[in-house]
C-alpha cells in the first residue's frame, strides 16, 4: 500500500510531525528534539502546522500528508475530536499514527507519547500553588482559549483535585488570553482588583505565565499573589529569579520531540507493537509504556534554584 513507497522515493522513512501551532516557542523546541531524532534515525522529517487558531488547518495538513503517502504521522491535537476524524483516515490509508502532547481519541492513533497525564499536570499545578498559599484561599486560571481542548482537560483536572484535596481553596475565575502575553497581563490586572483576596494565578498556557507575572509585579503584589503555570524556562527566567513567579512546570520539551519521533519510527518499522510495555528510545534509553501511553516521565518544576540550568 501507500506506506510502502516512501514519499521521498527512496527507502528512507518519512515521518510527519504536527504541532498544535507553529508560532510558539514550545513547539519550536519540540521540533528541535524531533529533528535530532530524525537525524539519528536517518529518517526524513516533515514539519508543518497551523500558524493561527484555525481549527481546520490541522486536518488539512494531515490530509495533505495522507495523499503524500508518508509512513507515520505524529500529531499534537488542538481540536481533539476534529483531528481524530482526519487521523482515522490516515490509519485507513495504512499510515501509522501516534500522538504527543495533546491526545486524540483512542481509536485514532496507536500510541500517545504522554509528557504527563492530564491529571498529572493538573495535580502538579494545583499542588504547587496550594503549597505556596498554605492550602487555602482564592485562585484564578489563565487559559489560551476557552475552546482549547487539552487546556480544558487540565482545568478539569485542577477542579477535580481542588474538590478532592483542597476544600479551603476556591477557583474564582477562568480567563482566556488568546495566547497573547499582553492580553494575559490585562486579564490578570483585572483579576487582581476584582478579587482582592486572590492568592494565586495559575496559567495553563505558556504566554500566560509571563503575562500574569508582569501584572502581579506591576500591581506591587509580588509574593502576595503567587504565579505558577505551564511554561518555558527561557520565557520566565527573569520573573522566577525576581520571585514574581514561583514555579514553572514543564517537562523536557526537547525530549518530548525526540521521544515522539523515536516512537513513531519504531511504530512504522514494526518494532513497536500494541501491547508492548517498554521500548528503546535512542539516547533517552528505555522508556516505559502504560497501556497505549508512552511515558516521558513526570513534569518538572523550574524554580529559582534550578532554572539557570535550562536553555529552552
Amino acid at each position: 500500500k501507500k506506506s510502502g513507497e516512501s514519499a521521498g522515493g527512496g527507502e528512507e522513512l518519512t515521518i510527519a510531525f504536527l504541532p498544535k501551532s507553529k508560532g510558539n516557542q514550545y513547539f519550536v523546541t519540540c521540533e528541535k528534539g524531533a529533528r535530532a531524532a530524525a537525524k539519528d534515525l536517518g529518517a526524513e522529517l516533515l514539519f508543518d502546522g497551523p500558524t493561527n487558531s484555525d481549527p481546520a488547518k490541522q486536518n488539512e495538513i494531515v490530509e495533505n500528508w495522507i495523499s503524500l503517502g508518508v509512513d507515520v504521522i505524529a500529531a499534537a491535537c488542538e481540536n481533539k475530536d476534529g483531528l481524530s476524524t482526519a487521523l482515522r483516515k490516515a490509519q485507513d490509508a495504512g499510515i501509522k499514527v501516534i500522538t504527543y502532547d495533546a491526545d486524540a481519541q483512542n481509536d485514532a492513533r496507536s500510541f500517545f507519547v504522554n509528557q504527563a497525564t492530564e491529571k498529572g499536570i493538573g495535580d502538579a499545578l494545583l499542588d504547587n500553588a496550594a503549597s505556596l498559599v498554605g492550602n487555602e484561599g482564592e485562585f484564578a486560571i489563565i487559559t489560551a482559549n476557552l475552546t482549547a481542548a487539552n487546556q480544558n482537560a487540565w482545568i478539569a483536572a485542577i477542579k477535580a483535585r481542588q474538590a478532592e484535596k483542597y476544600p479551603a481553596m476556591k477557583l474564582v475565575d477562568i480567563k482566556p488570553c488568546d495566547d497573547l502575553k499582553d492580553k494575559a497581563q490585562q486579564e490578570t490586572t483585572n483579576l487582581l482588583s476584582a478579587h482582592p483576596n486572590l492568592k494565586a494565578v495559575i496559567s495553563v498556557c505558556s504566554p500566560g505565565v509571563p503575562g500574569a507575572a508582569e501584572a502581579v509585579k506591576q500591581a506591587g503584589k509580588t509574593g502576595t499573589v503567587k504565579v505558577v503555570g505551564l511554561g518555558l524556562p527561557s520565557e520566565n527566567k527573569a520573573y522566577v529569579k525576581e520571585g514574581v513567579t514561583q514555579a514553572v512546570i514543564l517537562w523536557k520539551v526537547e525530549d518530548l520531540g525526540y521521544l515522539t519521533i523515536q516512537a513513531a519510527a519504531a511504530l512504522a518499522k514494526g518494532e513497536l507493537k500494541p501491547g508492548a510495555s517498554e521500548f528503546n528510545a535512542g539516547k533517552l534509553g528505555t522508556m516505559k509504556i502504560e497501556g497505549d501511553n508512552i511515558l516521558l516521565g513526570t513534569p518538572f518544576a523550574f524554580t529559582k534554584e534550578n532554572i539557570d540550568q535550562f536553555d529552552f
Binding site: S21, K22, G23, N24, Q25, V28, T51, L146, V172, D173, I174, K175, P176, D178, L180, K181, D182, Q185, Q186, E187, T189, N190, L191, L192, S193, A194, P196, P207, P210, G211, E214, A215, Q218, A219, G220, S234, E235, A238
Partner: protein
C-alpha cells in the same frame, strides 16, 4: 451646538454609567495601581486610534495597522536586543512604520486603489512575513528597556504622558493646522478640495504615513510595558481601534469626527472586559457586547440622519 456633540455625550454617558455601576458594585475597580496599569495598557491602542481616526476622516481605511504594530515592535525589539540605545530602537520602530504607511499611501493615493483591499493585502503580507521570520517566538528584551530604564511609576507616567501629548497635539493640529483642515476637506469631497487648491493625493499619502509613524510609536509604548515582546502583539488591534473610532462618532464616509469621541469610544469598549471581570461575570459575553455597542452606535447615526432629512 449640543447636536454637534451628541455622540460624545451619549458615549460619555454610557461610560459614566458603567463607571458608576462599577463604583457601586465593584469599588475595587478604582484601586489606583491596577487602574493605572489598565490605563497604561490602553495607551498604545489610543495612539493607533489617533492614526485611524485621521485615516477614516480622509475617507480611507487601514486594516493593516495591527500588522504594522507587530512589525514595528519586532524591529524595535531586535534593534534593542542588538544592544543599541533606546532612542535608536524608537527611531527604528517609527521608521519601519513610516515605510509601511508610505507603501499603503503610495498605492492608495497615487494608484487610486481602494484602501480596504490594499491594506487587506498588506496586512496579510506583513503578518505572514513576520511569522515566517520570527516563528512566533516570545522575544526577551534587554534589561533596562522596560519603563525606559526607569521605575514603574515613572515609566507608566511617561507612557501615558506620551499618548496624551500625542492626543492633544493631534486634536489641536486637526483643528488649528491648515494640514489638519485639509484632512477634513479631502474626506468631505476630494474634488472640491482639489478645486480649493488642496492636493488630495499628498494629503491622503501623508495621512497613511502618519498612521504608520503612529503605529510605530504605539508599538514602542507597548514594548516598554514588559520585558518581552510577542511578534503577533498587534493581532486584532485594527478591529479594536476601528470599532473605537466608529463608536466615537467618526463617520466612515469621511469628513466627520474628532478625537474626543474616539477616546471615549476606546475607553468604553476597552472597559467592557474589565467590567465583566469585576462584576464576576463570565468572559464569553465580551465579544457579543462589543458587537452590540458598535451596532447601536451605527444605528444611532442612521436614526439621527433620517431625523435630519425628514426635518429638512
Amino acid at each position: 451646538m449640543s447636536g454637534k456633540y451628541s455622540r460624545e455625550i451619549t458615549v460619555a454617558g454610557a461610560l459614566v454609567l458603567l463607571m458608576v455601576a462599577l463604583a457601586i458594585f465593584a469599588p475595587n475597580f478604582f484601586e489606583l495601581q491596577p487602574l493605572l496599569s489598565r490605563l497604561t495598557s490602553q495607551m498604545p491602542a489610543l495612539v493607533a486610534a489617533i492614526g485611524i481616526t485621521l485615516v477614516i476622516i480622509t475617507r480611507q481605511i487601514d486594516i493593516s495597522i495591527g500588522a504594522q504594530f507587530s512589525m514595528c515592535g519586532v524591529v524595535a525589539g531586535i534593534v534593542a536586543a542588538a544592544g543599541m540605545p533606546l532612542g535608536v530602537a524608537v527611531l527604528a520602530a517609527v521608521a519601519t512604520g513610516v515605510a509601511m504607511g508610505a507603501f499603503n499611501g503610495l498605492l492608495v493615493a497615487w494608484l487610486g486603489l481602494p484602501s480596504i483591499v490594499v491594506t487587506l493585502a498588506t496586512m496579510v503580507t506583513w503578518n505572514e512575513l513576520l511569522r515566517l521570520w520570527q516563528q512566533g517566538r516570545l522575544m526577551n528584551l534587554p534589561a533596562g528597556f522596560q519603563w525606559f530604564g526607569l521605575n514603574q511609576a515613572s515609566g507608566q507616567g511617561i507612557v501615558i504622558a506620551v499618548a496624551v501629548v500625542l492626543l492633544l497635539s493631534a486634536a489641536w493640529a486637526m483643528k488649528n493646522l491648515a494640514a489638519g483642515r485639509y484632512v477634513y476637506a479631502v474626506g468631505t469631497d476630494a474634488e472640491a478640495a482639489r478645486l480649493a487648491g488642496i492636493n488630495p493625493k499628498w494629503t491622503t499619502f501623508g495621512v497613511f504615513v502618519l498612521m504608520g509613524a503612529l503605529a510605530g510609536t504605539a508599538s514602542v509604548l507597548n514594548l516598554v510595558q514588559s520585558p518581552q515582546v510577542q511578534p503577533n502583539a498587534g493581532d486584532g488591534l485594527e478591529l479594536k481601534v476601528i470599532a473605537a473610532a466608529v463608536v466615537g462618532g467618526v463617520a466612515i464616509t469621511g469628513g466627520r469626527g474628532n478625537l474626543w469621541g474616539v477616546l471615549l469610544g476606546l475607553l468604553l469598549l476597552a472597559n467592557v472586559n474589565p467590567a465583566l471581570t469585576h462584576f464576576h461575570q463570565p468572559p464569553y459575553w465580551e465579544r457579543a457586547i462589543q458587537g452590540l455597542v458598535i451596532l447601536l452606535a451605527v444605528i444611532a447615526d442612521g436614526l439621527k440622519r433620517s431625523k435630519k432629512t425628514s426635518a429638512a
